[in-house]
């Protein structure tokens, strides 16, 4: 088994781990980290699989660099929103679908009223 394949296999596991994290965890920060894990898994597979015969391939490496920047951007946006959410509601997770929007709305409205 070449080093590339080991990277790729690790990447697969990381991806699934990250996916599970996004799906199953509650805390926003952990979910954002889990998403990054998914991305890292994909990057490992991209680079690892391409050099499983031992010769490095610059194309996936460049793609990974691009992917990292995109992941940084997405993470930055996610953290910004999570921070904003925390500042507005004091919560570290987003509640279940249906009622969350309306509850948060009501809270925001109440706050606005109090502010007046």
């Amino acid at each position: 088994m070449s080093a590339g394949l080991i990277y790729a296999a690790t990447g697969c596991l990381l991806f699934v781990l990250g996916l599970g994290g996004v799906l199953l965890l509650k805390a926003l920060l952990r979910r954002i980290l889990a998403f990054n894990l998914m991305g890292s898994g994909a990057f490992l597979v991209l680079v690892g699989l391409a050099q499983r015969d031992g010769t490095p391939d610059p194309v996936p490496q460049a793609m990974v660099l691009t992917g990292i920047v995109v992941a940084v951007a997405a993470t930055a946006l996610a953290l910004t929103l999570a921070r904003r959410w925390h500042a507005l509601t004091g919560r570290e997770d987003i509640a279940r679908v249906g009622d969350a929007g309306s509850r948060a709305r009501r809270m925001a409205n109440d706050r606005r009223k109090v502010g007046r």
Binding site: L13, L49, A62
Partner: protein, 216 residues
């Protein structure tokens, strides 16, 4: 119900992991080998490092769009509302000294990374990340004040680097395609783009940290 759902998800994920492992480990060799193509065309790319050649020449269009993604993330932060400025005066006495020592070195490292990108690992994004870290360090040491929302300078720097990239991409249409460098000028144009990007990306990354709501 919820527990059942979670365990089902876990089982499905384990199945996916097993399938992926089997698939990856048993994969036959790929029919297309791009490494060779990159090596063949490296001479016409204007740089001597193959990753940089892919990043800024062969797949330069990806990089062009990627810069936009970073600006979008910043815009998303502006749209969602900026955090209030941090309280002042709580700094550690060590920090300013450390910052004053480290920042010139970091700037130097960034310039090196940018310059090295042409022939060994490095490049605009790495340089920008170091520069942004320097800015954050200065900010934490309260040497660099937070940026108000409508401050002109950071916007100009971020937009400027990208607009330079865009202008070159558009001008090269005259050569027959988006970002189609003439081989004899490719090196120069790539350096130009990379320098602009370094500034743009650095300020963009730093802005995530430094942009704060106005004091009102």
């Amino acid at each position: 119900m919820k527990a059942l759902w979670r365990s089902l998800t876990v089982v499905a994920l384990l199945g996916l992991a097993a399938a992926l492992l089997v698939a990856v480990l048993g994969l036959p060799p790929a029919p297309v080998k791009l490494a060779g193509e990159v090596a063949t065309n490296l001479g016409a790319s204007g740089v001597s490092h193959p990753v940089t050649a892919v990043l800024l020449n062969f797949r330069g269009y990806d990089t062009f769009l990627e810069v936009a993604v970073l600006i979008i993330a910043l815009l998303g932060m502006l749209a969602a509302g900026l955090p209030p400025p941090p309280p002042t005066g709580s700094r550690n006495a060590m920090l300013p000294t450390l910052a004053r020592l480290a920042v010139p070195l970091m700037v130097l490292a960034a310039v090196y990374l940018l310059w090295a990108g042409a022939f060994r690992p490095g490049g605009a994004f790495q340089a920008a990340a170091v520069l942004a870290a320097a800015a954050v360090l200065l900010h934490l040491a309260e040497i660099l004040a937070p940026w108000p929302r409508d401050r002109r300078g950071p916007r100009l720097a971020i937009a400027g680097g990208f607009l330079l990239f865009l202008a070159i991409a558009a001008a090269l249409l005259a050569n027959g395609g988006l970002l189609r460098y003439p081989p004899e000028h490719a090196g120069l144009l790539i350096v130009l783009i990379e320098s602009g990007l370094t500034v743009s990306l650095a300020v963009n990354l730093a802005a995530f940290f430094l942009l704060r709501a106005d004091k009102t």
